[in-house]
Structures are given as structure tokens and as C-alpha cells.
């Protein structure tokens, strides 16, 4: 399974990004994550299907919203693709 995780600085930031993606027709799943993704403790990410990554990145840019980090997750292994 191939998906991306857009990390947020707060739940509010995550919700803002989620709304922007929903408006653009990109389905998202809001998930809590631990230090493995945030480095500094509890945080939030948006999970986006791999095939929707480009549309999601474009929608966030158009909305003036920037994720803290983006990870690509393939078969459970994650790799940061943007900071």
C-alpha cells in the first residue's frame, strides 16, 4: 500500500489542511502520530493516497498552507520526501 503523510504542527493546522484538500476533492484521513514522525511528540498527520499526492500538494499550495513534513509510506516503511 502506497500513501503519503502530511504532518501538521497542531490539530488546527491539520484541520485547515484537511478542509482545503476536501474542497479540492482529495480524500484524507486525519491521524494522530507519535514522535516517529514529528520528532517532538504528539502530532497530527493527513493520510493521502499515493495517486492523489500531486493533487494534494497543489491544493495545499493554492490554499497557502504548508505541511511541516511529508512522508511517503510504502509497505509500512516511511521516507521523508519534503521538509
Amino acid at each position: 500500500m502506497d500513501y503519503y503523510l502530511f504532518t501538521a504542527r497542531s490539530i488546527t493546522h491539520a484541520q485547515q489542511m484537511a478542509r482545503a484538500l476536501e474542497r479540492a476533492g482529495v480524500g484524507v484521513r486525519l491521524r494522530r502520530v507519535g514522535g516517529g514522525f514529528t520528532k517532538n511528540g504528539c502530532g497530527y498527520t493527513l493520510q493521502v493516497a499515493g495517486r492523489k499526492y500531486r493533487a494534494a500538494a497543489d491544493a495545499l499550495r493554492e490554499a497557502g498552507l504548508r505541511p511541516v513534513k511529508v512522508f511517503r509510506v510504502v509497505n509500512g516503511a516511511s521516507q521523508e520526501v519534503m521538509t
Binding site: 504542527r9 490539530i11 511528540g41 502530532g43
Partner: protein, 373 residues
């Protein structure tokens, strides 16, 4: 009881506020603390309410809408973020102790831009004079909690921008009644309570942030929890501890009620009632009424006095007749100094969207009865 103390808190709330609070108690837990349904429901409520407040008050982002326990809480954050110990602040002549006491605690030089009641030009001249001398911050209420007089906030904001002094707006008496656009004002902070013109329960408030804020409380935020320093991003930086979820549910419903009714219609209704009260009180012998000839310069708050009687005695006589008003200094000695109503203070009647002509007439009947004794 005839309730005429809405400047303290609006006692009658829309049924939607009660229903929203009950729903929150039954279905929501701590937001930002878990991925389960009741936490998510609370998170959604908070985001909806932030977004609604941002839209209503011209805030650039929901992240800049911070939930507080009261306007006093928000004003403390704002003042303590901008004014260093021993700094200088310029305030209007109609500020509440929620402004003057934090400044006193900071040992700040507090320059009062004093002006007579309902004299917007004099208010602006006084602000101009004091802002020229420089200040760490200016604080201006949108309207007096004692007299309902509307202060020229847009012009004060323009002066602050000209002199590069950050402005803190206390919108306690006007939120929900007068339109407010934070972006247009260019304010550093705007503080308001939920429990007055926004018809939310007590224990709620909003701080709209246009500047960097210092923390008043530190604690858990559900974010960046491995760090000991508070998050440097809003709203988490200013929201330590579990939120007042039922209160915020009431705030969302109250905001929706105000938007549905429109602040303009509510203001028109309240101003009409205040004029009715002022005209009736003026006909009574020995009563001094502090009302503007220009209805636009006053909101739903009216102060008055009775010759030879203490304000508290008048309020007590009214309470015995089932009328709820407030008397004394209304936590705003600065306003009484500006208006010349020290040392006695005033009796204050104040209305809301739920007040009626019958309420005003009940006040007038009770006053006639009280004065005849």
C-alpha cells in the same frame, strides 16, 4: 424577574445554545487528546467554532482564534504580551479593571486618553496627544460597559497604525452588536467574552491574535509533547489544559444565532429599547440619565442616577420589585472618572436581543414606585 443586566452577562440564551451544550456533554471528550470518536467530535467543534469566529471578525486564519475563559483572560494575555514591566500604555478613558489592573500589576505607566462622555472627537484628540509620546501598547474598548458609549475604534486604530503602537481592542460590550473586522483595524489583539453579546455561557471568550503572544498558562496541549517549552504556534501556545468543550459548543451556537439575527438588527433593537428607557426615566423627577442624543453613539447600556439616593439603594429598591440592574462602579472607575460620576457611580440598565418593551416599561413602573416612597 425582569432582567436588565445584559452588560454583565446575557441571562436569556437562545434554545440552540442550551441544546448544543447538552449535546457536547453527552457526546464529546477532550479535543486533541485521542483518535477516537468523542475526541474527534470535540476537535471538529473547536475547528468549526474557530472558523466561524475568524469569518465573523475578519481574522486571517482559524489558528489565530484562541479560546479563553473570559475577555479578562484574553486582555491579560494581550497586555502581558505587549507591555513590559515598567512600560507605557495608552488607554481610553472608558476602560475596565480587566485592562487597568494588569497594567497596574506590571507597574506600567498608564496614560489615560480621557474624554467627556459621548465625545468621540475629544477621545481622538486625547489618543493623538498620548500616542505621540510613544507607548508599548494602546488599549481601547469598542464601547463603555458603564454608559454604552461607542468609542471611535476605527479612528483610534488608524492613529495607532500612524504612530506604530500596537492596539489591543476590548470588544466586550460590542461583540455581536457592532461589526468588527480585525484585519481592517490592524489590531494586535482583540478580546471578547462569549457570555455577553455572543449568547454563550459564562466561562467562554475569544482572543483574536494578530501579534506574537506570551503564555499566561503553561501545560498540556496535545501537541509537541516531548518539548518542555510551550509550542511556538497558535492556538496551542495559548491553550494549555483541557478546553471548555460544552462552553465552546454554546459559543458556536451563540455565534450562529448572532449571524442569523445579524448584529445590525440586534443593535437596532437594543438602541430602540435604550431610547425608550432614557425617555421614560427623564420624565421622572430627580433622575439624571446619561444618554447620547445621537443613538448611533450608544449601545444597549444606560446609566442613570437619582438625586439624594445611592445607586446601590436604587438598585436594591428595583430588585425588591423584580427588576435586575447593576449599581456602583461596574468594575470601571476610569469610566466614572471620565464621565464625572464619581464618587457615587451609577445605576445601570442594559438589554439584549431578548429584552422587550415590556421589560423597559416594568423598569419605569418600578422606578416610579421606588421614587414615590
Amino acid at each position: 424577574m425582569t432582567y436588565l443586566d445584559s452588560a454583565a452577562t446575557t441571562f436569556q440564551k437562545p434554545p440552540s445554545v442550551r441544546a448544543a451544550m447538552l449535546r457536547a456533554v453527552q457526546t464529546m471528550s477532550s479535543p486533541g487528546r485521542g483518535g477516537y470518536a468523542s475526541a474527534r467530535a470535540a476537535e471538529e467543534l473547536l475547528f468549526r467554532t474557530r472558523t466561524l469566529a475568524a469569518e465573523t471578525f475578519g481574522v486571517a486564519s482559524p489558528e489565530r482564534v484562541v479560546f479563553t475563559a473570559s475577555a479578562t483572560h484574553g486582555l491579560n494575555v494581550a497586555i502581558k504580551s505587549l507591555v513590559p514591566r515598567g512600560g507605557r500604555a495608552v488607554i481610553s478613558g472608558y476602560e475596565h479593571n480587566a485592562v487597568t489592573r494588569p497594567l497596574y500589576a506590571l507597574d506600567a505607566e498608564t496614560a489615560v486618553a480621557e474624554s467627556p462622555l459621548f465625545d468621540a472627537d475629544a477621545c481622538l484628540r486625547a489618543f493623538d496627544r498620548e500616542l505621540r509620546r510613544g507607548a508599548d501598547a494602546a488599549v481601547c474598548a469598542t464601547a463603555s460597559n458603564v454608559f454604552g458609549c461607542v468609542l471611535p475604534i476605527a479612528e483610534v486604530a488608524a492613529l495607532c497604525r500612524r504612530f506604530r503602537v500596537p492596539l489591543i481592542v476590548d470588544a466586550s460590550q460590542s461583540a455581536g452588536v457592532l461589526p468588527l473586522d480585525m484585519a481592517a483595524l490592524g489590531a494586535a489583539f482583540v478580546a471578547m467574552p462569549g457570555h455577553k453579546g455572543l449568547y454563550a455561557p459564562q466561562g467562554t471568550g475569544l482572543l483574536l491574535c494578530g501579534a506574537d503572544a506570551a503564555t499566561l498558562l503553561e501545560g498540556g496541549t496535545g501537541s509537541a509533547s516531548l518539548e518542555q517549552a510551550m509550542p511556538d504556534f497558535l492556538p496551542d501556545r495559548l491553550e494549555a489544559g483541557t478546553h471548555n468543550v460544552p462552553g465552546i459548543a454554546g459559543l458556536e451556537a451563540g455565534l450562529r444565532y448572532v449571524r442569523r439575527m445579524t448584529p445590525e438588527r440586534i443593535a437596532c433593537h437594543e438602541r430602540r429599547l435604550i431610547r425608550r428607557a432614557a425617555e421614560g426615566l427623564r420624565r421622572l423627577s430627580g433622575v439624571t440619565v446619561y444618554a447620547s442624543e445621537d443613538a448611533e453613539r450608544q449601545l444597549g447600556v444606560l446609566s442613570f442616577n437619582v438625586a439624594g439616593r445611592e445607586p446601590e439603594d436604587v438598585a436594591e429598591a428595583l430588585a425588591e420589585r423584580g427588576i435586575a440592574v447593576r449599581a456602583g462602579y461596574h468594575c470601571a472607575p476610569t469610566a466614572h472618572r471620565s464621565a464625572g460620576t464619581l464618587p457615587r457611580g451609577t445605576v445601570r440598565a442594559s438589554v439584549s436581543a431578548f429584552s422587550t418593551d415590556a421589560d423597559v416599561d416594568a423598569l419605569l413602573r418600578a422606578m416610579r414606585a421606588a421614587l414615590s416612597k
